[in-house]
Amino acid sequence: MTIYTNTIPAPKRGHAVWVIAKKEISDAFRNRLFLVAMVMLLALSLIAIGLGSVTVGQKMVEYNQSVKILTDLGRTDIPPAPDLNPIAVSKNFINYLAMVGALLAMILGFTSIQKERQAGTLRLILSRPVFRDQLLSGKVLGNALLMGVLLAAVGLTTVLAIGIVGKVALTGDQAARLALTILMSWLYMLTFFLLALFFSLRVPKGNQALLLTVIVWLVAAFIFPQIGDTMDLDNQLPGGFFAALGMDKNGEQQALQQFKWYETVRDGVEELSPTKHYERISFALLGIKQGFEQNTWLEVLRLKAVNLVGLIVPVVLLLSGSYAVFLREETYQV
């Protein structure tokens, strides 16, 4: 007697993950809310970068005109080109990404699970030869790639805008600083994507998961930095409190010596916010924050290692938490 067996061969591990990742990307482009937020972020970023590049271009034109006048006059003592720091045009992009980028990432994280729950496809996928870790890896990979491509496009546009509109070529160090800023932006978006993913997996009711994500976002991205800003003594007057008193940096440091505990608490509150870490390291890399202009990109990374860790730790924790929750969850099959 011949026994026929009908088994479905398990797909290769990498293949299943890649199929799910590709589906995540194509699904995102069918989500109207994601498209609205993405267009908003891209438009704002491009306007900010474009305006910044125009300013850089104007300064270069002014410099070239001065050089021409001096040369025509037969002068040989031509002043060096002004230090324009062209990558600082990304300053507003950082501010927009801190808000709209986080929102975009949360939309992706929430809909990634919610769409499957609503359509009942989570059970269907898990009834096929796809392991839970493959499913989750595919979702994370697809969305991480999508955010990466989006940010890389903004980075590339920045380089082109500085070159074409601003007429300035980036040095190797400036290009590395810009690339690292894009990497930090990706880590920042990934944090909020994983936050939404974690709550969507942890809390069965979709609405509750979304509201919890938003509450954590509010606290981490707005409340903590706001408390920090309020406790910043120098931040209380336009132009700076210490500057209004006629104090230089040394005088400010001396005055703050007696409020060391206060400054420690303020710093501690700010350290709890991924948004603050993102702003601090990005502004240092872009040379917007004073004191980092002369450092190389590697030195900036070393000096801002705390902020880098502050961006990586939430990603690792939320990713581990998501796997732990999803791999142990049995209710989807029931």
């Binding site: 809310l33 609205v36 937020a37 908003m40 704002l44 306007i47 900010a48 305006l51 507003n92 501010n95 927009y96 808000m99 709209v100 929102l103 939309i107 929430f110 919610q114 979709g206 609405n207 509750q208 979304l210 509201l211 919890l212 938003v214 509450i215 509010l218 606290v219 707005f222 409340i223 706001q226 408390i227 309020t230 406790m231 003594l233 209380q236 007057l237 336009p238 132009g239 700076g240 409190f241 500057a243 209004a244 008193l245 006629g246 104090m247 230089d248 005055a255 007696q258 409020f259 206060y262």
Partner: protein, 311 residues
């Protein structure tokens, strides 16, 4: 009107049965307490540094002394402006985003509309109930802040200061009403409450961060030379264009009038009662206009929408 009041009462009670709503309410009230403490501590530290600086300069025989920092009683409560614009707005969205969708999903809407309740009464009741929740919360914030001002700050506010705080909370109510009416309007038109919430969140992000950030881009820096150190400070100054951009943001109106009422904006302490009243009236109208438009549009579409019963 009786039917509307019954629905309003039900909405009011339902809000306090939601765990998420209670969580964000506690966050809102907790932050308002914290703001008094932080505000008071920061201002005390500032005054201490200022006094020490003046003493040092006098000992050195300096002819010019820095002006004392402008610290008024209500400046201590200035953080409240940010907490209303951030947490308050989200709280209002949470109150409104599920208002009608929940009833649609549970079938309660059909049931209510099969009773002698008109559609306008139903919507009015829901808006009244949720507005009452906002008013109650702001009332608690008002009492909390006055008590804490006395207990933590050690300051007894004057009647004028109490009136300013009350006026600010009136502005806060109008501001939160915008987000409540937006979420309610969206919940009339949409089937999925999560989408309603996310769309409202996009609008809020635009109003609170994106538009003010864009306006900042169009500001110009003016150089101010410090009379003591001779150092040059850059101060951002509004331009006609940056102001025009800000007019698009309800949050900007709240921050602007909030700064004047709570005396945190430079020069706001010296504003006459008449000027302040005129500014407040303008801001109030600007804050009420979006709510009025959204509520009117909400009524117009809800009264004509037949699909709610047919679904």
């Amino acid at each position: 009107m009786k039917a509307a009041m019954t629905i309003a009462r039900k909405e009011f009670q339902a809000a306090f049965r939601s765990q998420i709503f209670l969580t964000i309410t506690i966050l809102f009230l907790g932050l308002s307490i914290l703001s008094v403490y932080i505000g008071s501590t920061t201002k005390q530290a500032e005054m201490r540094i200022y006094d020490e600086t003046v003493t040092t300069l006098q000992a050195q025989g300096a002819a010019v002394l820095p002006a004392a920092p402008e610290i008024h009683t209500l400046t201590i409560l200035a953080n409240l402006i940010e907490y209303v614009s951030i947490v308050g707005a989200i709280l209002a969205v949470i109150l409104g985003y599920n208002t009608l969708i929940e009833e649609k999903e549970s079938g309660g809407l059909k049931l209510i509309l099969s009773r002698p309740v008109y559609r306008d009464q139903l919507l009015l009741g829901k808006l009244l109930g949720n507005s009452a929740v906002i008013a109650l919360l702001l009332g608690i914030v008002f009492v909390f802040n006055l008590v804490l001002l006395v207990l933590v700050g050690g300051i007894l506010p004057t009647m004028g200061e109490v009136a300013r705080l009350l006026a600010f909370l009136g502005m806060a109510f109008s501001y939160m009403l915008i987000f409540l009416s937006l979420a309610t309007f969206l919940s009339i038109h949409m089937k999925d409450s999560a989408t309603v919430f996310l769309i409202a969140l996009v609008f809020w992000t635009m109003s609170t961060f994106v538009i003010p950030q864009m306006a900042d881009t169009f500001m110009v820096n003016s150089s101010v030379i410090n009379g003591i150190s001779g150092a040059v400070n850059q101060l951002p100054q509004e331009t006609a264009f940056s102001r025009a951009v800000n007019y698009l943001s309800p949050t900007w109106y709240l921050r602007d009038i909030g700064g004047q009422l709570l005396q945190s904006a430079p020069g706001s302490g010296g504003l006459s009662a008449g000027t302040l009243a005129a500014h407040s009236l303008t801001a109030l109208l600007a804050l009420l206009a979006p709510s009025a438009a959204l509520i009117a549009a909400g009524f117009a579409s809800f009264l004509r929408n037949e699909t709610l019963v047919l679904e």
